[in-house]
Amino acid sequence: MKRPNQLFRNLSAKIAAIPMIVTGLFVFVGGTVWTVVYSFTKSGLLPRLKWVGLDQYERLWSTKRWLVSIENLAIYGISMLVLVFVIGFILATLIDQKVRFENAFRTIILYPFALSFVVTGLVWQWILNPEFGIQSIVRDLGWKSFTFDPLYTPEIAIYGVLIAGLWQGSGLVMVLMLAGLRGIDQDIWKAARVDGIPAWKTYLFIVIPMMRPVFITTLVLVVSGIVKLYDLIVAQTGGGPGIATEVPAKYVYDMMFAASNLGQGFAASTMMLVTVALIVIPWAMLEFGGKKNG
C-alpha cells in the first residue's frame, strides 16, 4: 500500500493557514530576532550591522528618561492591574444582583472601552485641566485652597493617566467577570446558602477560584494592554510635565522615528520584550506545561 504524500494531505487547510504561518514565522519570530540582533549594533538613522556589543544597553540604563519610563510603567501597571480587577469584579457582582436596567448600567460602564486612547486622553486632559476642570469647579464652590492638578504636578502626573486608563478599561473587566459569574452553576449558590456561608465568603473562596479561567484571560488581556501604553500618554500628557509621564513605548518611538537613534530604540524595545517574556513564559509553563495538546 502506498501512503499519500504527507505534504499534500489536507492541502486546503494548509493553504488556509499560510497567512498565519507567514505572520508567525516571518513577522513575529523573524522580526523579533531581527530587532534583538540589531540592538547590539551601532545603528543610527539606518540599521547598520556594526557591532558594539552591549553599548546600547549601557547607554539605555544610564539614561534618566529610560529609568523614569520604567518606573512609570511599573507604577501604572501595578496600580492598573490591582484596581481594574477590584473595580471590575465589584461592578460585576453589583450588576449580578438581578438588578433592573442591567443593560443600561452595563452599557454606560462599558462605553469608554469603545473609545480610543487618544479620545480618552484628551477628554481627561480637559477634565483635569486646573483652570477649567475639577479643580476650578471645587474652588468655585467655596473651597479656595483645593488642589487637584495631577497633570501639572510631576510627582503624581502618572496617576492622572491612571484615572483615564481605569475609566477606559474597567468596563471590559466588568463584562468579562460578569460573564464568568453567569457561568457559575446556580446550585453552588444554593448549596452555600444552605450551609450558611455568607455571600462575601462564597465569592472569595468558592466563586473566584471557580472563575480561574476567566481571571487568567482577563489578566492576559489587561497585561498586554498595559505594556502597550502609548497613545494615552501621547494624547493626555505628551510625556510631560518634563519627563514625568514618559513610558518605555514612547521612548522606543521617539528614539526610532524622531531622534534617528535606531540602536537605542532596538535596545529599549528588547528590554520591553524581556519584561513581557518574564511574565508570559512562567505563566505559559504553569498553564500549558503539564498537559499535552492544550
Binding site: 504527507q6 489536507n10 486546503s12 487547510a13 494548509k14 488556509a16 493557514a17 497567512p19 498565519m20 505572520t23 508567525g24 514565522l25 513577522v27 513575529f28 519570530v29 523573524g30 522580526g31 523579533t32 531581527w34 530587532t35 461592578l91 453589583l94 438588578v99 454606560i108 460602564i109 462605553y111 469608554p112 469603545a114 473609545l115 480610543s116 486612547f117 487618544v118 479620545v119 480618552t120 484628551l122 477628554v123 486632559q125 480637559w126 485641566n129 477649567f132 469647579i137 475609566w167 471590559l172 463584562v175 460578569l178 464568568g180 457561568g183 488581556l221 498586554s224 502597550k228 502609548y230 497613545d231 494624547a235 513605548a249 522606543v252 518611538y253 526610532m256 522615528f257 524595545s269 508570559v280
Partner: protein
Amino acid sequence: MADTAVSTNVSSTASLRDGPRGPKPRRTFSRRNILLYGTLFVIAVYYAIPLYVMIVTSLKGMPEVRMGNIFSPPLEITFAPWVKAWSQACTGLTCKGLSIGFWNSVRITVPSVIISTIIASVNGYALANWRFKGANVFFTILIFGSFIPYQVLLYPVVILLREIGLYGKLAGLVIVHTIFGMPILTLLFRNYFSSLPEELFKAARVDGAGFWGIFLRVMLPMSIPIFAVAIILQVTGIWNDFLFGVVYTGPESYPMTVALNNIVNSTQGVVEYNVNMAATIITGLVPLTIYFVSGKLFVRGIAAGAVKG
C-alpha cells in the same frame, strides 16, 4: 407540610415564635435596594461624565467656555465648533480640519476589516476542523506573537513595507492591521468553530463536501454572530489605532486619531477648547455608534471570546 399543619393548630404565640414562612417578600425600597441602586447610579454618573463634558463643551462658544465650568450646560448652543473641527481646524501644518483624517480612516478601516476577517475565519476553521501536523505549533507561535510588544516589531515591519514599496501608504497600513489583528481574530474563530457540534462537520464530510464546501455552506451560515463580533472588534480596534497610523503613514494619509491628536496638542495661538472637544467627539463617534447600535453583540463577543479561550 406536617410542620404547617402543626403550627395552624397550636396557639398564636407559638406561630409567632416560628416566624413567617416562605420566601421573604421583597420590598422595592428595602435598604439593600437603595444602597445597590444608589451605588450603581453614582458609578454610572461617573462613567458618563466625560461624554457629557465632551458634548457640553463642544456646544459652547469660547467666551462661555472661559467663564463657566466644564459641567454647566451651554447657555447658547452653537454648532460652530463642530463645523470648525470638521473643516478648518489646524493640525500644525494645514488647516483643513478632521475631514481628511476621517476619510483616511474609512479608507484604512474598510479593507483592513474585510481582509483580516476573511483570513482569520478561514484560518480558524482550518485549525478547528482540519488539524494538520504542525498546525498547533504555528497557532501557538501566533498567539505568543500577540504578546510581543509592538515596539519590537515596528522597525522590521517598516523594512518589510519599504521592500514591497508600501511604506507610508494606506495599503501598507492595511497589511499591518491584518497582521496584528490575526492572533485575536484567529483565536476567536477557532474557538467558535470548535464549539460547534462535530457531528455537523462529520455529516457534511460523509456527504462528500470538501474544505471550502463545508466552510461556505455549513459553517458560514451558522457563524453570522461571530462574524459580527469579529467585525465590531476590528472596526473599533482599527478606527481607534494611533501607533500604527503614526508610524506607517505620512501626513497626507494620517488616520483620524493622529489628525485629532495633532489638532488638539499642536500649541499654536489661542487654544480653542470647544473646537478641541468637538474634534474629540467626532473622532469617537464612529466606534460609539457601533457600540450603542450593536450593544449586546459587542458584549457577547468579548465575553464569548474570552471565557472559552
